[in-house]
Amino acid sequence: MTSIKELSPLKKKEALFGWKLISPSVILIGLFILYPVFYNIYLSFFDVSLTPGVSNKFVGLENYQRLLTDPIFWESFGITLLFVLITVVGSILVGLIVALLMNKEFPGRGIVRALILFPYVAPVISTVFAWQYVLMPLNGPLTMTLSKIGLMNITTDLINDPNNAFLVVSFYSIWKNFPFIYLMILSRLQSIPLDYYEAADIDGANGWQKFRHITLPELYYVIGSLVLLRGIWNFYKFEEVYLLSKEARTLPIYLYEKAFIGLPELGVAAAISTVLFIVMIFLISLYVKKVLKW
């Protein structure tokens, strides 16, 4: 790497200008993202007090000890893993199928395409109310339909039942996020050269063979990066889960309730953040190695 001293005066001026342009971003990100990450690790070793005059008390690993022996933590951890697994697989499958459908010409395609984006662009708070309405026990329209075909009991409150709330939340998350995946896959599909398929036609390949041997390999990279991106984002997804159902009890909800509801235990919450952060680092390094190949 060239050092700044070896540069010509003109290049030096350019580099300085480059630094000037990026500095507001670097300062903001440093102060409010990087510093908090480390400050959080520091906090996780303290009994944190926000009362003026009372200082933080160093407790060593006690927060972690309390966390790792708390069965609720492990339950949340398990639910979070399941939630990530279901939503990643589900939204990619739905996104892929819809992208394959929309890759064909048909009358009305423009309208359907615009409509598909609705769940993704509509605010979480609005769509959450709508799903809560259709799933109301007794007289929600979806509840009535599902109970008529015998899939559920009409009196069940699907959303607020702690046993399956996370399934409803997973379904909602798939519904909300598949359009993103569909858009990414569709734009990749449209860049596959048509000659590939023509050549396969000449060789007498059927639809499945064409999908299996041309489409899927072309999509491999984009699907791989989508799996990791969705996995990372859904691991700490808060709004979509909490606003639909507090009962879904994923790790971010557990953290939120520990830190900001009732008697705040910020030290323990910081320990949860640190654990989340470590898992994230693991997922991110997978992403960097497998997809970005740095």
Partner: protein, 324 residues
């Protein structure tokens, strides 16, 4: 003959799948709109077309009509008559109580809408402005440490939200930025800028790389400064991308609940839509029609914004994925 039959079955299957997709996507929206045109008492009437359609929910939310809750009830009016017989100071006290009670029960939708609009709009604008210069810097100019910054942007783009909530809350409390509604709104503004800045940097950086450098070089040779080319060439050429990024950043602020709930819970006047609507939803019963009308009004601005840039959306998204 066999071939035609098979292609017919295929066609039916195809349209069936399209119908499934449309129903899957539109289902909750259809009910949202249908219920929003009903009275609260009719919210669970069967069917999609309301028997007694009304726009009263919208009129009340938009402040064009007083809601029943805001109209003085019979009892209150009788109470007021009673009050007249009380001594001056006591009357004042009781009157204030009644007023406070009514204020608490009202549903200041427009105010929340305004708060959300200002907060999401201002933070998205700030983030895009800082992002334009930052992204230009690392996508066009060589300087020591550029690689590190490019990779760093990608990494912070993946971190966020709940992981940072504890330390950020702690920092803002210690800075005294949670004491009043103004300070809390300012804290939220900073936090939203931070949350959207990596997205802006990342997406704009990807877009700037697609603009041929030769266009700029010509201007630079003609004696234009770097700043001049950013203002006169890069920004006009990237307008579609800039607007798309702005809308994404706007949506992040418009949707945000986590930090808003932590910072502005004690200050009802500063509520954003997501905090306010959730509060109403849990504190009052049987207001489904009103909640649905509020949901429609909350969704309309972002849906309109997105649909107006739909053709750029794919390009913006595939420029490297979009954060939520």
């Amino acid at each position: 003959m066999v071939v035609r039959k098979r292609s017919f079955i295929k066609k039916v299957l195809f349209w069936f799948l399209i119908a499934v997709v449309v129903i899957f996507v539109a289902y909750p929206f259809v009910y949202m709109v249908s219920v929003s045109f009903r009275y609260d008492s009719d919210a669970f009437d069967p069917g999609l077309i309301p028997d007694n359609p009304t726009i009263t929910q919208y009129a009340q939310l938009l402040g064009l009509q007083e809601s029943i809750r805001q109209q003085m009830s019979q009892e209150e009016q009788q109470l007021m008559k009673l009050l007249e017989s009380l001594p001056e100071d006591q009357r004042e006290l009781v009157f204030k109580n009644i007023q406070a009670q009514r204020k608490r029960e009202s549903f200041p939708f427009l105010r929340w809408f305004g708060n959300s609009l200002i907060l999401a709009g201002a933070s998205a604008l700030t983030s895009v402005l800082i992002g334009i210069f930052g992204a230009y810097s690392f996508s066009r100019i060589w300087f020591p440490g550029r690689n590190l910054i490019q990779r760093g942007v990608l990494l912070v783009y993946l971190v966020g939200g709940v992981i940072l909530s504890v330390p950020i809350y702690d920092i803002f409390v210690r800075l005294g930025l949670t004491n009043s509604s103004g300070a809390s709104l300012f804290s939220l503004y900073i936090i939203y800028v931070i949350q959207t800045l990596p997205v802006s940097l990342y997406m704009l950086g990807n877009y700037f790389r697609t603009i041929p450098e030769s266009i700029e070089e010509a201007a630079l040779i003609d004696g234009s400064t770097r700043m001049g080319t950013i203002m006169k060439i890069i920004i006009p050429l990237s307008m579609p991308a800039i607007i798309t990024v702005f809308i994404y950043a706007f949506m992040i602020g418009w949707n945000e609940y986590l930090f808003a709930s932590i910072f502005i819970r004690p200050f009802p006047g500063a509520y954003t839509l997501s905090v306010g609507l959730r509060e109403v939803f849990f504190s009052e019963h049987a207001v489904w029609a009103k909640m649905m009308a509020a949901s429609v009004l909350t969704a309309v601005p972002v849906i309109v914004l997105f649909m107006s840039v739909e053709k750029y959306l794919t390009a913006g998204l595939t420029a490297g994925g979009v954060k939520e």
